[in-house]
């Protein structure tokens, strides 16, 4: 069993245990029969005459369906597969991911996105900073480092798997380089696919990106300017935008205000606590955790202490039991 690595005192231990037991009882009620946990080489009960489709994580062994990973059996119509927990990220087309540039190569960047290979972001599959749609020239290729350098953190979308690996694209202003913030890595199974992965928390002035690959970005909010609109603007307005760019440069020199930085840290610590406890990470839970910490008047560093972790676990148990009753 994976232990939670915290230094707890006796009371906290008991409280944490109780909270986790509550979670266990809640989830066991929810899926008592449909999906069961299996470990490697456990056989999965299926009726082979029904023409079962064998999905990921399964293997046919002498007419018996056997799991090849530890995880949860999922059945979708005829498809039977095992959803592995704690595995590396498995990309799906359209996923929003956050990654770190590991290499600048010919016409492409290679990104570490916690997949079994590095992902590829082609120069041609991203919008240039000037916002003009055109053929990429040799000059663009030489200037690739002016866009992304090694170790830059980038947000992009999964385009698909080609013969030479996983391809990404960044064809919108919301994608691109991420600055002034923190990158957190959590196990990918904790982040569920949702409609919305970009979150702008207005009250804190913070951008939160929950990458499907378990990379979470917490950073200062940046205004997204849509280049499509920019294309249509006339010349005088372009001058204005030039002025804007100057003011942007000034902004570069000015620092992120201390409150924003504190908020970034607070949100980051909320994510860390949830990841330590192994709870699902989504915007509501993060905000709940954050509000809990500020309502208790805890300092940012105190959020990683054992007491707060226990409180979050208890809160989560309470929350899930409430949603249960509603349902």
């Amino acid at each position: 069993m994976r232990e939670i690595e915290l230094s707890l005192n006796q009371t906290q231990k008991i409280r944490l245990k109780r909270a986790l037991e509550k979670l266990e009882s809640l989830s066991s009620k929810a899926n008592s029969n449909s999906n069961a946990s299996v470990s490697i080489s456990d056989s999965i009960p299926v009726n082979l005459e029904d023409g079962v489709l064998k999905g990921h994580g399964t293997l046919d062994l002498n007419g018996e369906l056997v799991a090849t990973v530890c995880g949860v059996v999922e059945r979708v119509n005829k498809l039977v597969y095992v959803r592995a927990l704690r595995a590396r990220y498995k990309p799906e087309v359209g996923d929003i991911v956050v990654g770190r540039v590991s290499e600048v190569a010919q016409k492409r960047w290679r990104l570490d996105i916690h997949y079994s290979q590095d992902a590829v972001l082609m120069l041609s599959s991203m919008n240039l900073p000037d916002g003009i749609q055109r053929r990429r020239t040799a000059l663009d290729e030489l200037n690739m480092r002016s866009i992304f350098e090694e170790n830059d953190v980038i947000c992009a979308e999964v385009r698909g798997i080609q013969h030479d690996g996983l391809h990404l694209q960044a064809r919108s202003q919301k994608y691109g380089k991420l600055e002034r913030g923190q990158l957190l890595t959590v196990p990918p199974y904790l982040v569920r696919r949702r409609k919305q992965h970009f979150h702008h928390l207005e009250q804190y002035g913070v951008d939160l990106i929950l990458g499907c690959n378990g990379f979470i970005w917490v950073g200062e909010h940046v205004e997204v300017k849509d280049d499509m609109v920019e294309d249509q603007v006339s010349k005088p307005e372009q001058q204005k935008s030039n002025k804007n760019s100057i003011s942007l440069e000034e902004q570069e020199q000015t620092y992120t205000p201390i409150e924003t930085r504190q908020n970034i840290c607070r949100i980051a610590n909320a994510v860390r606590v949830l990841s330590i406890l192994g709870f699902n990470i989504n915007i509501e839970v993060i905000m709940d955790t954050m509000n809990l910490s500020s309502s208790l008047n805890l300092d940012i560093h105190e959020m990683l202490g054992s007491e707060f972790c226990v409180l979050v676990a208890e809160g989560e148990a309470e929350r899930r039991s409430l949603t249960k009753r509603k349902g």
Binding site: M1, L23, L59, L85, G278
Partner: protein, 341 residues
């Protein structure tokens, strides 16, 4: 004659590893080769007999089992010994030349108090290394091994990349503090290279490498405490770590060793039994497929006895597989219910 004394922690630790004891305040004089010693562990279950195999003015060596005991007190019965006795026991060669030793007592107990077909206590824990994709600690008695798995990840050396399957690499090392006397050898000696290879081949046989083309899986195993059977413990730890990393496998691989001493097949040899120089069979086993993936033996055995000994090791493997499966299932359930719906 009877003398009672308490051992310091350090002494006790050494005692556990090898039969090396620094005994203090021995009262009288005579000790010769062949004298029998009986050491009782107070409040413990086992009584262990030892025979003096070499003695000099200030030290003596003896053979005979000693056990890990939570108690600090030992009771020594038998001939009293010279002052500052400092026994030592060395390589397998010396052992063999010195004496015919008794590894199984007439009562049917081994040196550490086990029955011949009894395994040491096993314990496993998943998730010991935070940064790794998968990790585990595996203990068999006093042998303790930690394993970490990284990957599948981008191949570091492009020339090694395989286009239709994953590259599996393994590195075995022993911590300097893992043995009785501190090891000062640099890593990468012949022994660890060989064991690395053995573990790599065993794990590669069960990983479904074709599902992860153009990637690399690194397995790192380190021995934290060595008390015999490190090879088996490493394979078991690696299996758990691979499962934790979510790497698809045909079946679990488990491993266990067995030996043949005093005309008795013995399961799961500890260091003392291992260094007796008798046959030592290590088996790697796939319990579901009922197949053997690793078989190693030192020394010689008649074929009919060998079959028995190997069967015993396989039984041990099955027992370990059951335990490992339990641990993994428990871990999976934990992760699932914590995450919630």
């Amino acid at each position: 004659m009877l003398s009672l004394f308490s051992l310091r922690k350090e002494t006790q630790r050494r005692l556990r590893r090898k039969n090396r004891v620094a005994l203090h305040h021995w009262s009288a004089s005579k000790i010769t080769t062949g004298s029998k010693l009986i050491i009782n562990i107070l409040k413990g279950t086992a009584i262990v007999k030892a025979t003096i195999c070499q003695s000099s003015l200030h030290s003596f060596a003896f053979v005979g089992g000693l056990l890990a005991s939570s108690q600090n007190q030992l009771e020594i019965l038998g001939p009293s010994l010279g002052r500052g006795a400092r026994p030592y026991i060395n390589s397998k060669q010396r052992w063999r030349n010195r004496i015919e030793m008794e590894f199984v007592s007439p009562e049917g107990l081994r040196l550490d108090g086990r029955r011949p077909m009894e395994m040491r206590q096993i314990r496993a824990e998943i998730g010991a290394v935070a940064k790794a994709d998968g990790s585990a600690v595996f203990e068999m008695g006093n042998t303790k091994v930690i394993a970490a798995v990284y990957g599948p990840r981008e191949v570091q050396n492009r020339t090694q990349q395989i286009n239709d399957q994953a590259l599996v690499r393994c590195e075995y090392s022993m911590a300097n503090f893992s043995t009785g006397d501190r090891m000062r050898k640099p890593k990468g000696d012949r022994r660890s290279t060989e064991i690395s290879l053995v573990i790599r081949q065993t794990m590669e046989a069960c990983i479904l490498t074709h599902l992860m083309p153009r990637s690399q899986i690194d397995i790192f195993v380190q021995v934290l405490q060595a008390d015999g059977g490190t090879r088996s413990a490493c394979i078991n730890a690696a299996t758990l770590a691979l499962a934790d990393a979510g790497i698809p496998m045909r079946d679990l691989v488990t491993s266990c060793s067995s030996g043949y001493l005093n005309s008795t097949p013995l399961l799961d040899l500890n260091y003392v039994e291992d260094s007796a120089g008798g046959p030592d069979v290590t088996v790697g086993f796939l319990p579901k497929l009922d197949k053997v993936t690793l078989l190693q033996m030192d020394s010689k055995l008649p074929i009919d006895i060998f079959e028995n000994v190997m069967q015993l090791a396989i039984e041990g493997c099955k027992a370990i597989a059951n335990y490992i499966r339990e641990i993994m299932l428990e871990n999976t359930k934990q992760l699932e219910y914590r995450r919630g719906i």
